[in-house]
Symmetry: C2
Subunit: 205 residues, 2 copies
Amino acid sequence: MTRLPETTISRLTIYRRYIKSILKKGKPLVTSEKLGRKMHFKPSQIRRDLSYIGQFGRRGKGYYVRKLCRGLDKTLGLDREWQVALVGAGNLGRSLSAYPGFRRHGFEVSVIFDNSPAKIGKTWLGVEVLDIKQMPKVIKERKIKIAIIAVPYSSAQQVADILIRSGVKAILNFAPYKVAVPEGLKLKNIDLSTELQSLSCFLTK
Amino acid sequence: MTRLPETTISRLTIYRRYIKSILKKGKPLVTSEKLGRKMHFKPSQIRRDLSYIGQFGRRGKGYYVRKLCRGLDKTLGLDREWQVALVGAGNLGRSLSAYPGFRRHGFEVSVIFDNSPAKIGKTWLGVEVLDIKQMPKVIKERKIKIAIIAVPYSSAQQVADILIRSGVKAILNFAPYKVAVPEGLKLKNIDLSTELQSLSCFLTK
DNA sequence: TAGATTGTTAATCGATTAACAATC
DNA sequence: TAGATTGTTAATCGATTAACAATC
């Protein structure tokens, strides 16, 4: 099978959210035309995206909602709970750990790391804040595979290196630094300043 | 001039950050080869991106750091201060308003709107929290052009509609909802759950 | 069967990369 | 001049969209 384009994966998560909502309503079938109308995507794009991950429909009828739902869960790995380590207990880090959308989708920030003595040993909304020095040990023990980096620019790469050595396989990086990771790991960057700057670029035209 | 691809704009903000740092060091020239090496981009991509917005170099020599810096500031609209309105004083909203990276790049969250009586009238880190009902008036008076939406899924479109009617031209949307905006406005979406889900998709392969 | 809609192929579009002519 | 590097053109790559054959 050919690999899923990143853009397709993003859309799959959106399809999944909407399809969950119609699953509740009990309709057994839904067409790509209706999905497109509701979510503002082209039906042909939806069919193309879904065809990457399986066959969930019947020609002339539509997609089986239940089957499609299961397929999306499976592909996206959302039929299970994921433990997430968060590095950086600053403003951004703390609020990310409190973000309800994560838990709702099966991601549990189960440990926070920081290097500030003022923060180490405290808990934040029930989650312990540990010394960054304990990171390799704790991450290995708990077999954590996903981490969020919310530390300043200057320590992002260093933190990433430790995470990688500890066995983390996927990183969501909020530091505005292009972290280097080896083959076989997944890195996603969210750079809040860049997003705002692209708005200001637009306004400047 | 042809329009700038969104991907190019994102990279320009990164180039700008690095070029600011070498401006401080005083070197008058820098080559695309060196920029590429430092920022992990292909030199040809950097030259292509920069050529969209002007000519900043001398063949055989490199780019003039100072000139390039000014060009990037100008294109990105970062030679000025931008006032930003934030809608939603929940966990995410409050921490976004506190995010130091915004101010550092010339974005000032100068007003927060919410609909919760418990929050209205308070201040958060020196910024007033106003009733969402006052949004049209305040945004028009202050001529605010950029807004951040950090409200729940269910009210995102409604909030966006009010913002647009009030004269906002560019929106950064954190609600996991595909907000519809008219032509001529700019919308950027940041969906934190989607990002984590794409990591989990990767781990599932 | 006729109408509908998937699943897939082919055409289009846009962005990245390589190549190189211009020129310092 | 010879060597270096920009700025630009052309080739490549990948994603989106339209078209349609398969089939319910």
